[in-house]
């Protein structure tokens, strides 16, 4: 079954390309939904490349995020000094890579698709070649990314050496008693993917790269590759390593706790909006890892639901950052003072996005966090849930600081902030997504449940035996 990745636009003009790519992506989206509705599934190259419900789910995720990113890029591109047309090509190539990642089902295709995605980003991050910050970010990202690629390759070779298999499902049958090489291999694999999603302790690139990269690229980088990397993580942990969940849970619990706490506490001290969102992103990934650590089907569902909430809130927040930066040429939080008076729409949008990230009802983030906590509770990880809840309160603080600046403080320059129509549409879609997921999540939850069918037959040896809640009666 071939994939519908047909949106590689011709290099015609500048602005039109942007619109063209959005149209192309929409066509891809429709095709994917058609695939999903008609239950078209299959695999390619002897199972290296699969198209199952989960793959389609993540592909739709990537496509939607790319559409939003493309719509918020159109204005920014006009301001780029050069290479306006290539931008969309690179974005779409990265999106293609991320979509392929969602289908990768063996170690080689994981490696290839991951690098494919990242190559586009190497260029995109350093796109503003006159800007030293962008160059710095690009270099940092490239060096660390290349290093990670090495780690990934090393991990893959260790696993292949130990099992002689490459396909994830085959490895699961081969593992038996894990050898030291195999454990090291999986740890390296996890490290490489942890780098992609930006979990502590592999987060160090995130703030600088987010800060330096052009904002639409940052927005894209913060969502699509993370989603795709999580698809791979889900396959690895829930399929290949499902028999050893008792061992790896501790690793994930640790990563989750440190990511959340570190991200939230450091975010408090930030003065730059993009850096704030970078650290909040690290904390959000910590939340996602809770779902991974839950090691049950519900954990998978909750992660996939969470990603949608994260997509709309995060992309929306970056879209507001872009709009504001176009007018006031600043991304400092201080300059958001009195935004409510300068642009009620942008301030309201930002309010919703930040509160969704914080997990306040009736927004998407609330349901998503609750879903993850319920999954973790069912797995008996009470301590992790407690840490997660404490972090919710911590995160309220810095999100509300921004809200305070926007709503309570008076602007130093009261001139209105105007935004372009396409930006308004993009932000409105993100608002709609945040609200609909929060108020009527039923179909989406049903969709995640359906998309994780593949985890149903997998037998988790969870720790529920050892950690059973001490309920009497």
């Amino acid at each position: 079954m071939l994939l519908a990745v047909d949106a590689i636009p011709s290099r015609v003009s500048k602005k039109i390309i942007g619109h063209l790519s959005i149209v192309g992506l929409c066509a891809t989206l429709v095709t994917l939904i058609w695939f999903y509705v008609n239950e078209k599934t299959g695999s390619l190259f002897n199972g290296m490349y699969v198209l199952d419900t989960m793959a389609i789910y993540f592909k739709i995720f990537v496509v939607v995020s790319t559409i939003l990113v493309a719509s918020m890029s159109i204005d920014s591109i006009e301001r780029f000094p050069a290479f306006k047309g290539e931008y969309y090509f690179l974005v779409l190539m990265s999106a293609l890579g991320a979509m392929l990642m969602a289908s990768a089902n063996d170690l080689v295709s994981i490696f290839v698709t991951l690098e494919f995605t990242t190559f586009g980003f190497y260029i995109l991050v350093a796109y503003l070649r006159e800007d030293s910050k962008s160059n710095e970010a690009g270099l940092k990202f490239f060096i660390l990314g290349a290093f990670t690629a090495g780690i990934l390759a090393f991990g893959i070779s260790l696993i292949y050496g130990a099992t002689g298999k490459l396909i994830l499902t085959d490895i699961a049958q081969e593992i038996g008693e894990p050898s030291a090489a195999l454990i090291a291999g999986f740890l390296l694999l996890f490290a490489a993917l942890g780098f992609k999603i930006g979990a502590v302790p592999l987060h160090t690139w995130i703030p600088d790269v987010y800060h330096g990269a052009p904002t639409p690229v940052t927005a894209f980088l913060s969502v699509a590759p993370k989603g795709a990397a999580l698809a791979i993580l889900l396959r690895i942990f829930f399929v290949t390593l499902s028999g050893f969940s008792a061992e790896w849970v501790w690793l994930l619990v640790l990563v989750a706790i440190i990511s959340m706490t570190y991200g939230n506490i450091v975010a408090i001290a930030q003065r730059n909006m993009k850096r704030l969102l970078a650290y909040s992103g690290i904390a959000q990934i910590g939340n996602v890892v809770i779902g991974l650590a839950a090691a049950n089907k519900m954990g998978g569902e909750s992660i996939m639901f969470y990603l949608w909430a994260y997509l709309f809130a995060n992309l929306g927040a970056f879209a507001v950052v872009i709009s504001v930066a176009h007018v006031i040429n600043s991304e400092e939080i201080e300059d958001y003072n009195g935004l409510n008076r300068r642009s009620p729409f942008l301030a309201f949008a930002m309010l919703l996005f930040l509160l969704s990230l914080a997990g306040v009802p009736p927004l998407a983030g609330f349901i998503a966090k609750l879903y993850i906590f319920v999954a973790a509770m069912k797995a008996g990880l009470i301590a992790l849930v407690i840490v997660g809840l404490i972090n919710v309160v911590i995160s309220m603080y810095y999100y509300l600081i921004v809200v305070k600046k926007m709503y309570i403080n008076e602007p130093s320059d009261p001139s209105p902030v105007t935004i372009s129509p396409i930006m308004t549409v993009g932000i409105s879609v993100a608002i709609a997504g945040t609200l609909i997921l929060g108020i009527y999540p039923k179909p989406f939850i049903a969709w995640t449940v359906d998309a994780t069918q593949m985890f149903n037959h997998i037998n988790f040896i969870t720790m529920t035996q050892s950690l059973t809640l001490p309920f009497g009666g």
Partner: protein, 531 residues
């Protein structure tokens, strides 16, 4: 027909009002005011209908509406009221309706103000009518954020603690947490962080109930019927639920956010805050703790009986030494909430019914006090009692209302507070005589600080060195005038006095739900098994 949609209408009328306001410009002031008033009026009228339509001969949950929300997680949007919720829904919608008029003259961003106020009121009503733990928490958490905006955007700076040289006047529990700031932003942030912290503690309890019951449902009636918690786990969950929700109640020593929040908030927000937001705590403890964990409630409620004494004495003592009118009322609210906890702790029919009735009564009385304190502040731009005084000549109507409010607040016979207070004290006497005696004595303290404030603001005039000094000082001060300013005060006074003279319907309605609840709680002791 109306019965089917009664609760959704009460709940969503303010929400729709808020949504409609999003599409109106701030320039069209009159339209903004009309939408806010209209949507709150719908809730107001229907809540009265609810009180009389609730059939107390049957009891239990009535007007139940259920919409599946997520089968996978076991969440349903389930609405329904029992006798305990009815008076609180009524209090919320009365205060919303009157609050809309109290804030009629706000100049800055009126539309945003009304949106926040309507969402806040809808959230509190939502808690009272939710029969699903998830939605109870959903609305509970939803009520916090509008408070932040209301305090931060339209609030006023509180008086600095550091300026107060007299250490007796410092609220030392609050002072520990009050590092340097005393601004409205500080008050707003403190409120949100306190309430969020309390909320997540309660959420942990809720999640433990959800997972521990193994029923895969958040439905409160189902959980109350079928879940079985006992031993350590029941204790842990109960403590989480109790202290999580008690932080909003606010029970000593978790109260320090509350007076600061009152003082910073605009009048209508203080009214809703003291009137109904604080009752979310008591209500949620009853709804979750009492219904689902009756055994633990019986065993652990003495904790509340001890802490409530601190609330009563401490709140009264600090209120007496405050010079800021809103601080006085704020601490008096903390003190009065102690009475509610006493009534709840005693777990007798009379005391628990009285506690619920008192919640309604307190909402009316405090609403009046805050509305008038707000009016005085708007006119004189000060809340400092020593710099006020002699206002009775300039605002006779407001003074009259304030006298009624003071009477209602300490429980003069003829007001609904009297009945509530009396029932609490009578009901608790057998079980907690010491606490009851302290509570009775504390009424004297209440009287003392309220009369001190009444005298200081309206009657007392400093030594007349210059003739007509007071008249000159308050030359620009106006009395409450016109329909918009007087009507809300009269509505609250009417409710206080009407239900003070005819509390029958209330007591029947509340009692119809209190009785089975107590039977469930005490059932265990008599027969040795849970019903």
């Amino acid at each position: 027909m109306i019965d089917t949609w009664l609760l959704p209408l009460i709940l969503f009328a303010p929400v729709f009002g808020a949504v409609a306001l999003l599409f109106v410009s701030n320039q069209q002031r009159f339209l903004v005011q009309m939408i806010a008033a209209g949507s709150s009026f719908i809730s107001f009228i229907l809540s009265f209908y609810l009180l009389y339509a609730y059939d107390h001969t049957i009891g239990g949950y009535q007007f139940v509406q259920r919409f599946e929300w997520s089968e996978n997680l076991g969440i349903a949007f389930s609405l329904g009221v029992d006798g305990i919720a009815v008076p609180l829904v009524l209090a919320s919608s009365i205060l919303l309706f009157t609050g809309t008029f109290i804030s009629w003259h706000i100049k800055d961003r009126l539309k945003e103000f009304y949106i926040s106020l309507l969402i806040l009121a809808a959230a509190t009503i939502g808690v009272y009518v939710s029969l699903d733990l998830f939605f109870l928490y959903f609305f509970y958490e939803l009520s916090v954020l509008p408070m932040y905006l209301l305090l931060g955007m339209w609030g006023s700076h509180t008086k600095s603690y550091n300026e107060m040289k007299d250490t007796k006047k410092r609220d030392f529990v609050g002072f520990i947490l009050n590092f340097t700031s005393n601004s409205k932003e500080y008050a707003a942030m403190k409120l949100v962080l306190f309430l969020s912290a309390g909320a997540v503690v309660a959420l942990l309890g809720i999640l433990l109930i959800y997972v521990g019951s193994g029923l895969n449902t958040f439905d409160i009636p189902t959980l109350a019927k079928h879940s079985e918690f006992s031993g350590t786990m029941a204790t842990i969950i109960w403590l989480l639920i109790f202290f999580g929700f008690a932080s909003i109640a606010p029970l000593w020593p978790l109260h320090s956010w509350s007076p600061v929040g009152h003082a910073a908030a605009p009048a209508a927000t203080s009214m809703l805050h003291a009137g109904v937001l604080m009752k979310l705590g008591h209500f949620s403890i009853i709804r979750v703790g009492y219904e689902i964990l009756p055994e633990a409630t019986r065993d652990l409620m003495p904790i509340a009986a001890v802490l409530c004494v601190f609330s009563i004495i401490y709140g009264g003592w600090v209120a007496y030494s405050q010079n800021d009118t809103k601080y006085v009322i704020g601490y008096s609210s903390s003190s009065h909430m102690g009475y509610v906890f006493l009534g709840m702790a005693a777990l007798t029919y009379v005391s628990l019914t009285g506690a619920v009735l008192y919640m309604f009564a307190h909402a009316m009385a405090t609403g009046l006090l805050f509305a008038l304190a707000g009016w005085v502040y708007d006119q004189t731009h000060t809340r400092d009692i020593p710099s006020l005084g002699g206002l009775s000549k300039k605002m006779p109507f407001a003074t009259g209302c304030f006298v009624v409010a003071v009477a209602a607040s300490f429980g003069l016979p003829g007001t609904v507070s009297f009945i509530g207070e009396l029932m609490i004290l009578l009901g608790s006497w057998n079980k907690y005589p010491v606490q009851t005696i302290i509570a009775v004595l504390a009424i004297v303290v209440t009287l003392a600080y309220l009369l001190r404030m009444l005298r200081g603001v309206f009657f007392w005039e400093p030594g007349k060195t210059i003739p007509h000094e007071t008249e000159l000082k308050w030359a620009h001060v106006q009395d409450t005038n016109g329909f918009v300013n007087r009507m809300p005060l009269l509505v609250m006074i009417a409710c206080t006095i009407y239900f003070g003279i005819f509390p029958g319907q209330f007591i029947d309605v509340i009692g119809s739900s209190v009785e089975p609840l107590l039977a469930k709680i005490h059932g265990g002791t008599e027969s040795g098994v849970l019903p």
